[in-house]
């Protein structure tokens, strides 16, 4: 079945060769982008755009039109390109950061949700929500290298530092699949909580954290054994367990602190990674999902899906400095400062 799918795709991707050439041209002509744009990028599922926020001024300074239903976003290493999974157009848009334009599209399976680039930036690993598969797509040729069957509604994707192991969740099957990047083989399956969503790899390389939205948990998985070490539960003041629906998370570069968005509980949780203790909660907007740190790690940017805004959290005071209206149903955040 996999071989068949790939063969079928090749025909389609062949026609995209011109697009690949364009991408190559853009790559070649792009000047060294040493300094960031200083902006925060927010993808908006319902308004088909990425809102650009200037965090210094705390205001919206522009928008980039994308294909339909932009969700997960990642920069390439030098931050000249921003990749955006567009769920209703079945593509990953490639945005030239300098010109703020979509310069290429990478066709994927139905409803791409989350993805990662391989460390050598040759391959993109995309979860296709409606197709129950993880695709490995060669960026140069736009050919599906592997299509790995997953449980229904695959979502979060993580890739090991060496690029050899891919982790992908299945929201419906309550599992994390462990995939060998080289041959696309599923080497292990880890049953976690209900409706697992997204990952972080702890900076020490040892653990994989995965949020389980419906059971309100973060499972900490030992990457050496694929066994669950510990399960974190959250309970911000004034909420009940059933209201806690964690989705996205991020960690400081030194591996000391993690931040988890709690969805319907309208808070983010601050977790000390070493002790795995919850240090506190910060009230943000309605149903926070995407979360990223500023470069200096003094601030947190949180996308609130049901209040259509971005909360800017000052981490020293643990207070929201400002909530900035963005597009409709903001999903993910990336920071280029």
């Amino acid at each position: 079945m996999r071989a068949q799918l790939s063969a079928g795709r090749r025909g389609r991707f062949g026609r995209m060769a011109a697009g690949a050439a364009l991408l190559a041209a853009v790559l070649a002509s792009a000047p060294g982008h040493a300094k960031g744009t200083g902006l925060v990028y927010v993808s908006n599922e319902k308004s088909n755009e990425i809102t650009l926020v200037d965090p210094a001024e705390m205001k919206v300074v522009g928008a980039i039109k994308t294909s339909k239903r932009p969700r997960d976003m990642h920069f390439n290493k030098d931050r000249t390109l921003l990749y955006v999974a567009c769920g209703d157009s079945d593509v990953v848009d490639v945005i030239d950061v300098a010109s703020r334009k979509v310069v290429d599209k990478i066709p994927t399976g139905p409803s791409p949700e989350a993805f990662r680039l391989s460390p050598d930036e040759a391959t993109i690993y995309v979860s296709n929500e409606e197709n129950s598969s993880l695709q490995a797509i060669s960026l140069k040729e736009k050919i599906v290298v592997h299509e790995v069957p997953t449980g229904a509604e695959p979502e979060g994707v993580a890739i090991s530092e060496d690029g050899k192991t891919i982790y992908v969740t299945s929201e419906v099957a309550d599992m994390v699949h462990v995939v060998n990047a080289e041959d696309g083989a599923v080497t292990d399956n880890i049953v976690v909580g209900t409706r697992p969503r997204r990952f972080i790899l702890t900076p020490d390389g040892k653990d994989l954290w995965v949020t389980s939205e419906l059971s309100g948990e973060v499972h900490i998985i030992d990457r050496a054994t694929n066994q669950i070490k510990q399960v974190l539960k959250f309970l911000p003041p004034g909420f009940r367990q059933v209201d806690v629906t964690p989705v996205d998370l991020t960690a400081t570069a030194d591996g000391k602190t993690a931040y988890v968005t709690l969805g319907r509980a309208n808070h983010i949780a601050i977790v000390d990674i070493a002790s795995r203790k919850i240090e506190g909660y910060v009230l943000v907007g309605s149903r926070p999902w995407g979360v990223r740190l500023s470069g200096d790690e003094k601030r947190l940017y949180v996308a609130n899906g049901l209040s259509d805004d971005l909360s800017i959290v000052d981490l020293a005071s643990r207070k929201v400095l400002k909530a900035i209206p963005v597009g409709r149903v903001p999903y993910g955040v990336q920071v280029d400062d």
């Binding site: 409803s111 509604e153 309550d174 080497t187 909580g193 309100g216």
Partner: protein, 400 residues
């Protein structure tokens, strides 16, 4: 996918000799069967095609077995990882007696202990009584009858279909939130319509609305009965904020909106209807479930389809969390407090201990939009907001 997975498992062993879990998996005994039954009557007036074509809210558009099949399919991967093989065994009978014999044979000989039922309230009651001695839990996916959760409740039935009381509570919560608190009710001639009116009265009392009058209607063009068939006449001479129609048949209700004497919204069997599922739900993985169902069944899913899906998912969740296919172990989990069913409506779901009804959010939907999700904000409960919908523990009449 199956052959691919088998190949992958072999590779895994070669690739990861150090990975003990993978090795252990490869040496596991053959998979344990987790079989779920599904029963329906071959002839069932609820599925008359002359009603389905009109897409009447609250009526099924087709047999909900497709929902159960979608649940089996999407659960295969996790079942396989846990060394289980999941399957759905279907039986369609000419009578309840025939179905009862099938269910008993299943339990005695084929290790099938969970049976999803696509039966009306009275048929379900008869089946449950006939198989009361068998080790079987029936999962009611289509009957909303309150007495099945109340005085006539049976210990071998759990319900994923919401009750009439839950549906009425959801609707009245919304009306009260909008301050549309005076209701003119129109009642059809079926027993289901009487049950719906009773549920409405109860909900109005609970949440502070008022049913100003209940007027019977007749589906006829007889001019001598015009005061009971003409909507304008039927909705005149009264003060009200909304018109509620109880019409399980649905043919009368669909002509009530825009025909009322006063310019008032219509709710209930037409207009704004409470539902366990609606294709327009676009959060919590709703579109994905709708899309999987559409692919499988060739039509959009409605409440009964969702309830059949949820019934199988509940069994799977019990097996996954107990790592077992044993009936006693899975049943205890399924009906216990730890149950955490993802019904793709936002809240984790579990069965109420007092009447084995699945607690769940409900939608208030028009033809093409979900206007609100109940429990409506502001309706609070001391334990779980979902229990503001339906009969709560202190008021239950269910003794078994």
């Amino acid at each position: 996918m199956t052959s691919g997975r088998a190949g992958l498992a072999a590779l895994a062993v070669l690739a990861a000799l150090a990975a003990a879990p993978a090795l252990a998996q490869a040496q596991k005994p053959p998979p344990k069967d987790l079989r779920v039954g599904y029963v329906a009557l071959a002839q069932d007036a609820r599925y008359d095609s002359d009603r389905a074509y009109a897409r009447i809210p609250l009526r099924p558009l087709g047999r909900p077995v497709a929902g159960a099949e979608v649940a089996v399919k999407e659960s295969e991967s996790v079942a396989k990882v846990l060394g289980m093989r999941l399957s759905l065994e279907q039986a369609s009978g000419a009578s309840v007696q025939e179905l009862a014999a099938t269910v008993k044979t299943w339990a005695a000989e084929q290790d099938i202990h969970y049976v999803v039922t696509d039966l009306s309230g009275p048929d379900l009651k008869a089946l449950a009584a006939a198989v009361a001695d068998a080790p079987v839990l029936l999962l009611n996916a289509t009957a909303p009858d309150d007495d099945l959760r109340g005085a006539a409740c049976l210990a071998n039935v759990a319900h994923t279909m919401p009750s009439d009381a839950m549906l009425a509570d959801a609707l009245v919560q919304y009306l009260v939130a909008r301050k549309w608190t005076t209701i003119l009710a129109l009642q059809g001639s079926l027993p289901e319509d009487a049950a719906a009116i009773a549920a409405l009265q109860r909900a109005a009392t609970r949440f502070g609305a008022k049913v100003v009058e209940v007027r019977p209607f007749q589906l006829t063009n007889d001019p001598r009965q015009r005061d009971q068939n003409n909507v304008a006449l039927l909705t005149g001479r009264a003060e009200y904020d909304v018109v509620y129609v109880a019409d399980a048949d649905g043919e009368y209700a669909r002509y009530v909106p825009y025909e009322t004497q006063r310019p008032r919204p219509v709710v209930g069997s037409a207009g704004l209807s409470p539902a366990a599922w609606h294709w327009a739900w676009e959060r919590n993985g709703g579109p994905q479930l709708t899309s999987r169902f559409e692919k499988a069944a060739g039509r959009r899913p409605v409440s009964q389809d969702w309830a059949a899906w949820a019934a199988v998912k509940a069994v799977v969740q019990a097996a996954v969390r107990t790592r077992s296919t044993d009936y006693a172990a899975t049943r205890a989990y399924l009906l216990g407090d730890a149950m955490n069913l993802d019904g793709v409506k936002g809240n984790p779901m579990s069965f109420r201990a007092w009447d084995r009804q699945l607690r769940q959010p409900l939608f208030l939907a028009t033809d093409n939009a979900i206007i609100e999700r109940a429990p409506v904000r502001g309706f609070l409960h001391r334990v779980n907001e979902l229990d503001t919908l339906g009969v709560d523990e202190p008021e239950t009449k269910c003794k078994s």
